[in-house]
Amino acid sequence: MTEAASTKAPKEASAPVVARHAATLKALPFSDTRDFEDAARGFLGTVENARITSAQGRVVWSLEPYGFLSDAEAPPTVDPSLWRQSRLNMNHGIFEVVPGVYQIRGLDIANMTLIESERGVIVVDTLTSIEGARAAMELYFRHRGRRSVAAVIFTHTHTDHWGGARGVLDDETMASGKVPIIAPNLFMEHAVSENIIAGPAMLRRAQYQFGPFLAKGVRGQVDCGLGKSMAAGSVALLRPTDLIMATGDKRTLDGLEFEFQMAPNSEAPAEMHFFIPRYKLLNLAENCTHNFHNLLPFRGADVRDALAWSKYLGEALQMWGGKAEAMCGQQSL
């Protein structure tokens, strides 16, 4: 290596950093490994390295560059607690939540939930990209057999939860107009408007939040906290056909009853939770994740309402806490 190149390369962790990591190892309950068992529970299968390519052969998602995370022990250049979370976020594939409810995890920064209904399947959140959503559906079909999509639900307005909708609904299904797309009130207004006024600045700032231009490695990007990284690929916004307006609203979708709870101005300006009595399943969208979520992302956004957010979680517990036997979210859970 030339001297010029070496000054540009990442360096070792210094002694004070090493000392702090040693203290963290003592302070936190690393011997508690239940999260690893929980994160692997219900695993049915996956796509090798979670690798997804576009029709042109471009890689839109792959966990292959994160192979260095196979080491259980954190290197000196990564906080041991973050290392643990980065390893948990390496779980990928299709997972059974309860019989009849499945999640695709680790094929995007977000999760897709598939809920089997009378004749078909209801898809909750469609990942960031059309390519990712297609791969997720194929993985589901491979393990559960081909079923027609009976409805699509968008839990909230962030792109990683709707961008891939056209990978779930093909042209023919779209043209038939028979598949409802269900979303919280004011979905369209907020899906795009959050990025309207300051979008160009947000895109640049997001590079500092997610680190897409950093090399992945022990001296580079290891995770995003919620998941591994931003997905690439093509995105298209579909207009919902049915808006949920109020807490307590119900829908019967392909024979399956859903009860909804509104959670506006929480993690997203328009967001909702739901409960499915038949599966005794509660879905808290992205308002309940396996980490401390963000009240103001570094990319920049309207500041989120922590008080309202906490009340929605309390209300959900009150409404369904005694009935729910399983809970899932749409991110890092």
């Binding site: 000054t7 540009k8 990442p10 360096k11 962790a13 210094s14 002694a15 004070p16 950093v17 963290t24 936190l28 309950p29 508690d32 000196p76 250049t77 990564v78 906080d79 607690s81 973050l82 979370q85 980065s86 369209m188 207004e189 899906a191 795009v192 408007s193 309207i196 006024i197 160009p200 640049r204 700032r205 590079q207 500092y208 939040q209 680190g211 950093l214 990007q221 290891v222 995770d223 995003c224 906290g225 919620l226 093509s234 995105v235 298209a236 916004l237 579909l238 207009r239 994740t289 396996h290 980490n291 401390f292 979520h293 963000n294 103001l296 992302p297 500041v303 309402d305 922590a306 890092s332």
Partner: protein
């Protein structure tokens, strides 16, 4: 907040209760208590901490130059900073040397030392987003900004989802105020299909609109389907082409629209963050 602490002080003081602090699911991998409490302060009290010293501070370059002068110049700062860096005083070293980088962005020793400091802060961070921020800052100080691919145009489906008012807001954001000095342009818009009408007015260097109206004394009046406007924005057609093909009809002086569009800024994909802007913004 009501004890009188400011956002920085609260972040330094507040801890999760023991029952949550050691719970893995409450650790700050994405958000973090230290920046989430600042967000709460922002929500209820805003950016101003009520100390008038923070009411009108000098911006980074001007402040950086004066700090460097007061601190005895670059060499004195770097000598102290290297010493403190070795002791692990990363946060203050970053603050001090960042002033030097904003004062002297071509000082390679300053850039290298600040990069080393950000890097150690990144290695320390439990939050993945903090780590990414520090390590990317270090990388940009060492290597400069990466060449990002051009921003893809907004897909038609996404564009179609925007209300027409939002399209005018975007134009308002892009208007270069100083270039618009002294200009007065009034344009009527009428969208077939959606039955919307607007008066778009440039006056006092601001672009405003009124919905559901048409001005009697407009410079020009345009009639078109909303979808045609989307095609023009998505660059699938141009305004003159759409006029030639009859999709857009107009009366009056259509060149006033061209005059307005010439005042619009194109925003850069990349801009400096950890060092001064190289291209002046006017």
């Amino acid at each position: 907040m009501n004890h009188g602490l400011t956002a920085t002080e609260i972040a330094e003081t507040i801890k999760l209760p023991a029952s949550l602090d050691a719970a893995w699911h409450a650790r700050g991998y994405y958000g973090h208590i230290r920046h989430n409490v600042k967000a709460i302060y922002q929500k209820y009290l805003g950016w101003y901490d009520a100390n008038p010293v923070n009411l009108d501070p000098l911006p980074p370059v001007a402040a950086g130059r004066k700090y460097v002068e007061y601190m005895g110049g670059a060499d004195a700062i770097l000598a102290r900073a290297a010493n403190d860096l070795a002791k692990g005083e990363f946060r203050f070293v970053a603050q001090a040397v960042s002033h030097l980088v904003f004062a002297e962005p071509d000082n390679q020793s300053a850039r290298a030392l600040l990069a080393d400091t950000y890097e150690q802060l990144g290695y320390l961070a439990e939050s993945a987003t903090w780590r990414n921020a520090y390590l990317f800052g270090a990388q940009e100080l060492r290597q400069g900004m990466p060449k990002a691919p051009p921003r893809p145009p907004m897909p038609r489906e996404t564009l179609a989802a925007l209300r027409t008012e939002q399209l005018w807001d975007v134009l308002g954001v892009r208007l270069n105020g100083p270039k618009a000095e002294g200009k007065h342009i009034v344009l009527n818009w009428s969208f077939t299909g959606t039955n919307e009408s607007f008066v778009l007015t440039l006056e006092n260097c601001a672009l405003t609109y009124v919905a559901g109206a048409q001005a009697a004394a407009a410079d020009a009046s345009f009639t078109l389907p909303r979808g045609t406007l989307d095609e023009v924005i998505a660059k699938q057609t141009s305004f003159p082409e759409a006029v030639a093909s009859g999709k857009i009809k107009f009366t009056g002086n259509a060149m006033r629209l061209a005059e307005l569009m010439a005042l619009m800024d194109e925003f850069p994909r990349m801009f400096e963050i950890v060092e001064p802007k190289r291209t002046p913004v006017s």
